[in-house]
Symmetry: C2
Subunit: 480 residues, 2 copies
C-alpha cells in the first residue's frame, strides 16, 4: 500500500509542464473528488468535503453576525415561475435540467431543477412582506444547484455544485445598494482572512452582469498561472423582480411601494481557487483556517521506547486547539512526508527520541519547507504561531503573484502583446461600449473584462480598443 501511494505522489504532473493536468492530478490524488456516472457531477470525498465544511462554518458565522438567517427553498422551480422575469429566464433557460415525470406521470407543468433561486425567494417574499416593519428580509440558503454545462472540471465548472445564495429585500435603494457592497466586502474579507487569497474587486460591465441584475459586483482572484476565477458575486436588483412578482409593502408614509433586492453567492468553486492559488508541484497547500488537518505529527523512530507515548501526549494537548493528526502507521517517515505534503497539510510536526531528550520537536512549514526547532513547553503557542505564519506566507506569495502578473496596456498593440505573451491580468482603459469588449475577446482568443475595479486609475485617456474617450479603467483577463 505504501508503495502504491508513493507512486501516486510522484504521478503529479509538474505545473509548468501542463497546469490543467497538474490540477486534475491534484484533485484526484489528494482524494478531494471522484468522478461519478453522471456527466459533469462530481463526488466530493471526505477530504474535499471537510474543506467545504470549514468554509461553510466560517462564512455562516460571518453571515449571521451581519444579521442574516438561513432558510430552505424547494429544489424545483415551476417553469412559469422562472419565466416571470424576462432577463433572468433568458440567462438561465439554456442550461436548465428539467423534470418532466413525477410518480410515473408526465407532469402538467415542467419543473426546473434550481440553477439559482431568485424566483423562489420572490414568490415567498410576496407572501410575507406587507409592511415596512417586515423589512429588511436578510435570508440565506445553503444548497446545491444545477446548471447544465458542456465542458466540466471538478470544482471549477460542474453541472451540479454546492453553494450559498443570499437573497435580501430592503425598504430603500440606498439600503439595498449598501447590502450589495457589504456582502462583497464580506467575501473579500473571507478570501483574505480565511483562504489567504488576495483578489481584485469591482463592478462587472453591462455585458458581464448577472441575468436580471442592475449591478453585479465581483471578486476576482488570480490563479497561479495568471488566469482569473470569478470568485463570488453580489448583485443589486433594484425593484425589477419585485415588480415582476408583484411584491409590495406599505411604507412609513402609508404608501404602497416595491422593495429593493440583492442576491450574492459563493460556491464549491472556492476549493478550486484554493488549489490553483496555493498549490505547488508537490501537490495541495491548504490555508490553515480551512485545512481538515492543520498539523500532522510524524513520530521518528517510533518503535523506540517512549516515542509514541510522548507523541500521543503532545497530540492530546494540541487537539484542544487545532485539527491534528498523529500518523503512527508503519509506513516509512519518507512516505508520510510525501503523503501529507501532497495533501497540503500546512504544518508538519516531527518528534523523535533525540527531540524528546531535548524536550523539543521540529515544525516544518508546507509553504517554505523551513524547519524550526521548538520547545515542548509552549508547543500550543508555537504551533499557533506557525499556522499564522503559513497563512501569511500563502497570502504574501499569492499577492506577489497577483502584483507581478498585473500588467498595464496603454494602447491596442500593447494590449495584444500582453495578452499573447504575458499571463495575468491587464489594466486598460475602456470607452464603455460592449462592442469593444467583444472585439478584444475575439482578437485575443478569450481575454474578457473581469471588472471595473473599485480603485480605478487613469492609465490613459482613450479606449484601448476603439481610441474613443475612455470612461473606465477595466481589469481584463482570461478566466476559468
Amino acid at each position: 500500500m505504501a508503495k502504491d501511494n508513493k507512486k501516486a505522489v510522484s504521478e503529479i504532473t509538474a505545473m509548468d509542464v501542463d497546469f490543467a493536468q497538474w490540477y486534475t492530478d491534484v484533485v484526484k490524488k489528494a482524494e478531494l473528488v471522484d468522478y461519478s456516472g453522471v456527466k459533469g457531477c462530481m463526488i466530493i470525498r471526505p477530504y474535499g468535503y471537510a474543506i467545504w465544511e470549514n468554509i461553510q462554518s466560517d462564512l455562516d458565522r460571518r453571515f449571521k453576525e451581519l444579521g442574516h438567517e438561513n432558510v430552505y427553498m424547494p429544489m424545483f422551480i415551476p417553469e412559469s415561475l422562472l419565466q416571470k422575469e424576462k432577463d433572468h429566464v433568458n440567462g438561465f433557460a439554456p442550461e436548465c435540467a428539467i423534470v418532466t415525470i413525477g410518480g410515473q406521470n408526465t407532469l402538467s407543468e415542467r419543473l426546473i431543477v434550481r440553477p439559482t433561486s431568485e424566483t423562489l425567494f420572490c414568490d415567498h417574499y410576496k407572501n410575507i412582506i406587507h409592511s415596512y416593519r417586515d423589512l429588511p428580509k436578510l435570508y440565506n440558503q445553503w444548497c446545491s444547484v444545477v446548471r447544465w454545462e458542456k465542458t466540466t472540471r471538478p470544482f471549477l465548472r460542474t453541472s451540479e455544485f454546492l453553494w450559498q445564495e443570499g437573497h435580501t429585500m430592503h425598504e430603500t435603494e440606498a439600503e439595498a445598494r449598501e447590502e450589495t457592497l457589504k456582502m462583497l466586502k464580506c467575501y473579500e474579507d473571507f478570501y483574505r482572512e480565511t483562504l489567504a487569497i488576495p483578489a481584485i474587486c469591482g463592478k462587472k460591465t453591462e455585458k458581464e452582469k448577472f441575468a436580471g441584475a442592475v449591478e453585479t459586483y465581483t471578486i476576482e482572484p488570480m490563479m497561479h498561472n495568471g488566469v482569473a476565477l470569478q470568485g463570488g458575486t453580489s448583485h443589486y436588483f433594484g425593484d425589477g423582480f419585485a415588480k415582476a412578482f408583484d411584491i409590495t409593502f406599505t411604507d412609513r408614509e402609508n404608501k404602497i411601494r416595491y422593495p429593493h433586492q440583492t442576491s450574492w453567492g459563493v460556491s464549491t468553486r472556492m476549493i478550486g481557487a484554493i488549489i490553483m492559488t496555493h498549490g505547488d508541484d508537490n501537490g495541495l497547500i491548504l490555508p490553515p483556517k480551512v485545512a481538515p488537518v492543520q498539523v500532522v505529527m510524524i513520530p521518528v523512530a517510533q518503535h523506540k521506547p517512549g516515542v509514541l507515548e510522548k507523541a500521543d501526549e503532545v497530540k492530546r494537548l494540541l487537539a484542544k486547539n487545532f485539527r491534528v493528526k498523529l500518523d503512527d502507521s508503519d509506513n516509512s517517515a519518507g512516505w508520510k512526508f510525501s503523503e501529507y505534503e501532497m495533501k497540503g497539510v500546512p504544518v508538519r510536526l516531527e518528534i523523535g527520541p533525540r527531540d524528546i531528550e531535548n524536550n523539543s520537536c521540529v515544525l516544518v512549514s508546507r509553504v517554505t519547507g523551513e524547519k524550526t526547532f521548538v520547545s515542548l513547553d509552549n508547543i500550543v503557542e508555537e504551533v499557533g504561531a506557525m499556522l499564522d505564519k503559513v497563512h501569511s506566507e500563502l497570502y504574501n506569495r499569492a499577492l506577489e503573484n497577483l502584483q507581478t502578473k498585473l500588467n498595464t496596456a496603454h494602447n491596442y498593440d500593447e494590449f495584444l502583446d500582453i495578452a499573447e505573451n504575458k499571463p495575468g491580468f491587464i489594466r486598460a482603459m475602456w470607452c464603455g461600449d460592449s462592442e469593444c469588449e467583444d472585439k478584444l475577446k475575439d482578437v485575443t482568443g478569450g481575454v474578457k473584462s473581469r471588472c471595473i475595479p473599485f480603485e480605478e486609475e487613469n492609465v490613459s485617456d482613450t479606449c484601448v480598443c476603439c481610441g474613443k474617450k475612455a470612461k473606465h479603467m477595466v481589469v481584463w483577463g482570461r478566466q476559468y
Copy 2:
C-alpha cells in the same frame, strides 16, 4: 401589528377538536414553514430551519465521534444505476422524479432525482474499496431527497425533504450488524437526550423492511394523539448491493470477498415529531437543546428607569451560555407572553422594577407554566437548571403518554376493540406470516406492525390474528 398577531395566536385549533388542523395551524402560525408553488415541497422558514440546524449540529457531532466522515454525492442517479439492485428499484421506481431534459436536449439516459443514495454510494465504493485495509468505510451525507408523494403534510410527508443518510461498508457481517444496531442506538440516544422524545425501538417485519435490506431496525416515537411516526431507520444490507455492484476486496487471507453494508437515516420529519409529541393548545413547545431561542426575556414596565439597562446586562450574561432573546419592542407584555408561548420558547424570564429592587427575576416553564423567583446572583446556573427541568418535564410527559397509550391485546377481539376505541400502540403476538399483517391492517383500517421490539414479552402463546403458534410480540399502531 400587535393586534393581528394576538389574533393569530388565538386562531390555533384545539388539539382535541381536530389534531390535524391543530398541527397545520402550529406549523404555519409559528412560522416554521410556508407552502411553495411546487406541489408537496415546503419552504422551511428561519425559525423552522434554525431547529434543523441545531438538530444537524448535534447529530453530526455524534456521527463524527463514532468515526463517520461526511461526503457529497450527485443529486442525480442514472436510471440504469438505480436498476442494478432489483428489490431496491421496485421499491423506489413508483415515486421518482425524473429529469429528461438537460441544456435544452433530451437526455440519452434519464436521470432520477435521488430518493436515497445507496446506488450512488455503491458505484463509488466499487472504485475505492480494494483491500481490507480500505475498510470500514463510514460515510454520511447531508442532503435533500425527492420522493413523489400523493398526499403531503409539512415535515411529515413531503415530496422533497432534508435528511442525512449514512452508508457504511465492512469486512464482516458481524461488524456491519453491529454498526446497524449502533446507529439505531445513536438515534435513540439523540431522541431521548436532545429531543426529549421516548420511543419504542425494534426490528421491522419482512413486509415493512426497506427496499433491498436484509434487516431494517426502526425507532418509533408515539405522537400526542397515539399515532406512530417512523422516526428513523437503520438497515443491514448483507452483501446484496455489493454483489449487484461488483464491489469486492482482498481479505486478510488474500481471498476476494464482498463487503457487508449498512445504511441509516433521519430527516426533517423529526421536526414533525417534536411538534406532535410536545405541543399543546397554546402552540409549539420546543425541547431546549434544539430551540432556536431557549430563553426569552420580557421586561416588565420597561419604560421605568433602569429596567432595560438591567435586562440588557442580564441578557449579555446569559448569551454566553444560552440562545437568548430580549424582546424590548413596544408590544404589550401580554402579547409577548402569547407570542413566545405559541413559538414554544422553553423558558420565559420576566424582569421588572420590583424584581430589580430585590436583585431577582422570574423564570417560567413553557411546559407547566410554573413560576420561580430566582436571584440574579446566580442567574446562569438557575436558567441552566430550569432548561434541564423543562427537558425532563417534556420527556416524562411524553413517556407517560406512551405508557398510558400502550395497550396489550391477547386475542383477535381485544385487538379489534383496542384498535377501534383506544388511540395508541397495541402489543400483540404474531405468527410471522405477512398475511396476518395484511388482514389486521384491513380490518382495522390502517393498524400496521411498527416493529418487533428489542424487549419482547410473551403476552400470549398464539397469533392474535390466525391463532397459530406465535413467533414474536409485535407493537402495532396507526402511522403518519
